[in-house]
Amino acid sequence: MPSSEVDARTALEAAAELGPYFAWQPRDADAGWRPFADLLEPSVVAERVRAGQRVLMRMSGRSSDEIDERVVASTVFLGLASRLLSPLLAAAALTRVVPLATPDHLWWRPTETGPMPIAYEHLSAIRLPAAASEVGRPANDQAPTTGPPAATNLPGVPRPGAADDQPTATEQAYAHTLPSVAGPGAADDHPRATGQVAATNVPGVPAPGAADDRPPATGQFAPADLPGVPRPGGAGNRPRATEKAAAAIIPGANRQPAIGNPILPTTPVGATEQMDAAELLSRTAVSNLVGPVLEAFRERFVLSPQVMWGNVASALGGAAGMIADHVTAPAAAGASAAIVAGMLARGPLTGTASLERPDPRRARWFLVRNNCCLYYRLPGGGTCGDCILTPDAVRRRHWQRMLNH
């Protein structure tokens, strides 16, 4: 059965039921909505970071000198990446409908605390065929039996998955502003080469080199080749991601939502049928939304691409974990983990993190970054559960707590 194009609304509404961090809303008449492209403006980026810094100063009682703006920028970006990706990941995992996020159809509203409101209008989506190739539905997976979904983790929210057992005031405060730091982490049993994605641990995800990793049949749409999409490790050489470049990636997506291919207007009809959710999200949300915002933050605050792409990975891992903890159907947990694993194997996310499944009886995956968001540099800040700097023993305890919840 071929994939087909539908409206994204129903899928996004299903995602929004997971809580405010998974919610995008239909655009209303509120005059406060600003175009997505504003988020790429250096002045707006700087203001977002100042807002984050103000919150941290207020909650920690520290001065601006003590709240390093680069660290704030990294973590504010992590929060933004989470807001841009979590609803889409949840929509895809829960409904098999993948919204095709395009900058021209999205708006946001500034907020001092809490999840940044994001609105959409006329957003199309791809309904994937029911016979899943990328969505894992492990036969032996069971829904977590230890109590209700961790509702307390979500709405009010995610503490930054702090690995240290003592969240500080700063950390707590931070959790309310920057929800996505929630990325719970995981530890390796063995050191592994940086960049190895533990895709084999995820049901339904082919090992590297298997069919799923092939370039698409047309061979010309590798995300890393798209303008504005950095290659891993290629920080210095790539073109600056501009709003224009971002918009140019899928120029036809907005004009002809009902006809042809929404990914690329010149793509032969039917090409999207070969794409799974991970690829669709990589080519739309990652390439068109997150990548340009990341570059805007990087240009203003001079941050390592590994730190920043690691933040994107962390946002995805945190969202997948929250989906797993909130949905009773184990298939959704497996599906979200499989999609994240697929995204981690592509483009600039390659090598930034891996997924671990500490308990084979539980459909719960934890992300482990090969990098760090720098949050620990703030006064009272600890390392997150998914951080490279978190000791294994601490990470294991963190997992155990999450699994026992």
Partner: protein, 120 residues
Amino acid sequence: MSETAEGCTVTVCRDCCCGNALKHPSLDHDAQLERLGAALAPDHRVRRSQCLDVCAEANVMVVHPTPTARRQGATPVWFGLVLSPAIEQDLIAWVRAGGPGTADIPPMLDLSVIPAPGRS
């Protein structure tokens, strides 16, 4: 992890500057990483990290205390400019002796300690 449950972990930065032969051509960075692994495994774990954002101090390494030492208050110790076999050997010897919170840092190795970022 069981074999390193009571060992230290050494996080070795390897990215844009650390481990970069263009920045520090005098050193075989891959060999350095292999030496560390060979000298410390299996009692201690050596892992590599992407950029830790202390580029001026490349090569940067972080020695994390054993779980026991950590529970007693020991914190990770950061090292910068680990570019000579002598420093490397001192670091290995110190980790073998127990690392942070357990063994005193030898005076020569102490010269390579850098402030943990954000804690300076």
